[in-house]
Symmetry: C2
Subunit: 288 residues, 2 copies
């Protein structure tokens, strides 16, 4: 099975429309139809149900969409990492460079400490910090844009990665300063899940937003502004206190699950620079 065919199938499966998929791929529709048919023939499996008005995925198609995306990610990651290994690093003794994906503005302090501690290591590599939106450190790690990431369980999923736990925090509720609930000593998740006129913010889980009335959040600035405007409420980890606005109020959440920050990297990574960074992070965690 060639990655070309896989790319084509994934495009069609995502668009559920040959014409649009072909356009997205920068090609004409007929060869795309043919390529997908050929893939079906090769696998001996019907992937798409063509009902005269559009296209639907079969069960097998669902499977291939999921597994195919993973395969394509693996391929682009392989290419990217190989290029990086051969490009800067090999020539003229330039040092290995590590790309660390972080959720923008999450856990500043920890990040700062980690970078400082790592820089002090004798064989430290240069670390480039790649800032991500609410949840796409996972994707960056999977497609090879990053070598290592700081992830926050349960917001991120560690599935498919190696990881070490480095910090646990409680959560608090972030509310508009003037709101009645802001005066409370304590809140529970139930208290903030159904406040009239203050729908809880939603962020993507595995790339899609859960249903609900609240606004869809892509980054923390957006969240900060919406809370300040009195449009939403959210649960955030302690380290978020660093970026609170005067218009915000913070109230401890008694029953929210703790947020556990992990340092995560692609399974089977074997770079010594990475191993050193992880070691530093673990040491830091145990000394806090």
């Amino acid at each position: 099975m060639e990655t070309r065919e896989l790319k084509y199938f994934v495009a069609v499966a995502e668009e559920l429309h040959f014409g649009r998929a072909a356009e997205r791929l920068g090609m004409a529709q007929p060869p795309l139809s043919r390529a997908v048919q050929q893939l079906e023939r090769r696998l001996g499996v019907r992937l798409l149900e063509r009902n005269r008005r559009g296209v639907a995925l079969t069960d097998a198609g669902e499977v291939l969409l999921r597994e195919g995306r993973a395969t394509l990610d693996a391929a682009t990651a392989a290419a990217r990492r190989t290029r990086r290994a051969g490009g800067a690093d090999n020539l003229s003794g330039e040092r290995t460079r590590l790309v660390l994906a972080v959720k923008t503005a999450a856990a500043h302090e920890l990040l700062q400490e980690l970078l400082d501690a790592y820089a002090a290591e004798p064989d430290a590599a240069e670390v480039e910090v790649l800032q991500c939106g609410m949840c796409d450190q996972e994707a960056r790690l999977r497609d090879g844009s990053a070598d290592v990431a700081l992830m926050h369980v349960p917001f991120n999923s560690l599935a498919g990665f190696d990881s070490e736990e480095i910090m646990t925090e409680n959560q608090f509720a972030i509310l508009p300063a003037g709101h009645p609930l802001a005066a409370r000593e304590n809140l529970s998740l139930a208290d903030i899940s159904d406040v009239p006129g203050l729908p809880p913010a939603r962020w993507p889980r595995h790339g899609i937003y859960p249903p609900g009335p609240g606004p869809e959040i892509r980054d923390q600035t957006q969240l900060a502004q919406l809370v300040a405007l009195g449009r939403t409420v959210a649960a955030v980890p302690d380290s978020a206190r660093a970026w609170l606005w005067p218009e915000h109020a913070a109230v401890p959440l008694a029953d929210a699950p703790p947020v556990v920050t992990h340092i995560a990297w692609p399974a089977h990574s074997r770079s010594t620079a990475l191993a050193c960074l992880v070691r530093t992070a673990v040491r830091l965690a145990s000394s806090r």
Copy 2:
């Protein structure tokens, strides 16, 4: 990057010889040379060092070998799982079939209980048990031959999989019955690591055998026989008591790390049958 090119490169990187690699791939040597050159050109990176007598991997080549294997595994897994999803399952209401990879003869009892408990579930699928050698449940899971596996940390690595812990056991030393050490009440790892005439057995870690004087073990029968013959000694988990021979002696190991059995599956798997099996396993674990 096409899987074809990747397959070619991996073959060459493994053989370190274009001729043999070409033979293994069932093609002539010149087009293989050309394909690898083209891959190097496309990536803009030198992958192989051709010194007139054979071939060596560059650093970038090492990276691509590792990542490329992962990509190829993902691709074959995608094809296999898609075929399975479309083949038996979709037609005529036949039930989903789960393939469970286990280390042959490891943790019988647990396996038996798990299969029984799962079969009693209302929406249980048929479970096929795939018996593996010492350590290749990981490979089976990665290449799509299996959907789920019982793995034994620290013998197996869970890197890249989702998993749940279901059993913890201590280890004991398994020795020839007549051996002086067999009379001891307790042993330590140090005691059995350097016994004259009784080199400790070795099994593969990530596909390769660690160096040492002891015999290379592929399955438990082999180990059993070698111990009975007075050729080797090994540390094995408690559940292995089930298959001890009269010629064997078992002595508790005070300082060996516990063996933790996990149920593991490919990250992001979403089959309901699998979820049910995992739930059953976890329930079983907590009730033991």
